[in-house]
């Protein structure tokens, strides 16, 4: 089965995010930042604020303890 996806770049599931900020520290391109809003669990969550800079390296994703990030090229 070939994975067919229409998105590219980083996709963050904000409901899974616990706001640990590890992805932000991991991103070499400053793509990510914390939202000022909270999700339904009460956590501030991570967002791609500069998606245009994303080099799809996946470092954010492998750093996320909650596997809230997917990355597509």
């Amino acid at each position: 089965m070939v994975e067919v996806e229409t998105v590219t770049g980083v996709r963050i599931d904000k409901e899974r995010c616990k706001g640990c900020e590890l992805c932000i520290g991991a991103c070499p391109k400053g793509v990510l930042a914390m939202s000022t809003k909270i999700n339904s669990k009460g956590y501030f969550y991570a967002e791609a604020v500069h998606p245009e800079n994303c080099i799809k390296c996946g470092l954010c994703a492998i750093s996320c303890p909650d596997v809230a990030i997917e990355v597509y090229r």
């Binding site: 492998i62 750093s63 990030i69 997917e70």
Partner: protein, 252 residues
């Protein structure tokens, strides 16, 4: 049509974990699940969860699971693997579980050369019960049961399990990695993958210690906790492959 750079592995159950924000347990879970996927062993893998924060690991993987009693995961894994050598068995243990109460079981499983894989999460503290001292707690570290800081003159130095287990003659794969940065996470993946591969090849006992954070009981933000690993833990807990099975290329 886009290419997947990173996607949730299939062997990881599609649920939200109970781990605190930034806790390394989640990272290592993901890595283990990826290895299971990549080796195509999901249908014959059985996990053994410890008593510790990862006690609920059985809810987080799409494989059959045991919940073991505190410290005895290696004995449970021994029972399962001896009964069904065709299964791929891994035990997932914390430092209180493995290095304190479970010392005899891990040493003997390693020494018998039991052909399963142990993932050892060393976060220098008893996470689940609220931050008590572990055998791995660093000198001077304040915990709820070392309120004046761990005094090595009174209770000795932190136990380094890789060094201890490597002193045994029986063949095995023993490595220490860390979860404190993307680069180290990648190396952790490599080590764990290697461990599972060796098990699939029915080679030897395999053991990967991962230096991990417990932001909650360290009283730190997750990023600060990762820094603590780098600055405080690494000098005492060196990373690397401590032992590889005889004739194995990656032998250090």
């Amino acid at each position: 049509m886009s290419k997947v750079v990173f996607k949730r592995p299939k062997a990881l159950a599609d649920v939200v974990t109970h781990y605190c924000p930034g806790c390394s347990h989640g990272i290592v879970h993901r890595i283990v699940a990826e290895c299971i996927d990549e080796l195509g062993i999901q249908e014959r893998t059985v996990g053994v969860a410890p008593v510790g924060c990862s006690v609920l690991a059985y809810n987080y993987f799409n494989v059959d699971f045991f919940e073991a009693s505190h410290g005895r995961a290696p004995a449970v894994a021994t029972g399962a693997k001896r009964a069904r050598p065709d299964l791929i068995v891994f035990a997932y243990q914390g430092d209180g579980d493995l290095a304190s109460i479970g010392m005899a079981e891990i040493v003997h499983a390693c020494n018998r050369g039991e052909k399963f894989t142990v993932i050892f999460i060393n976060n220098t503290v008893y996470g689940m019960t609220g931050g008590q001292m572990a055998p791995t707690t660093m000198p001077g570290q304040v915990t709820t049961t070392s309120p004046y800081g761990r005094d090595v003159n009174q209770i000795g130095w932190p136990i380094r399990m890789c060094e201890l287990l490597s002193s045994l003659k029986t063949d095995g794969f023993i490595a220490r990695t860390s979860a404190h940065s993307p680069a180290e996470i990648i190396k952790t993946k490599k080590a764990i993958k290697k461990a599972f591969e060796l098990q699939v090849a029915n080679r030897c006992f395999t053991f990967v210690e991962v230096l991990s954070t417990c932001p909650t009981n360290w009283g730190m933000m997750p990023i600060q906790a990762q820094k603590r690993i780098e600055e405080e833990l690494l000098p005492y807990y060196p990373l690397g492959v401590f032992k590889s099975p005889n004739g194995d290329a990656s032998k250090s």
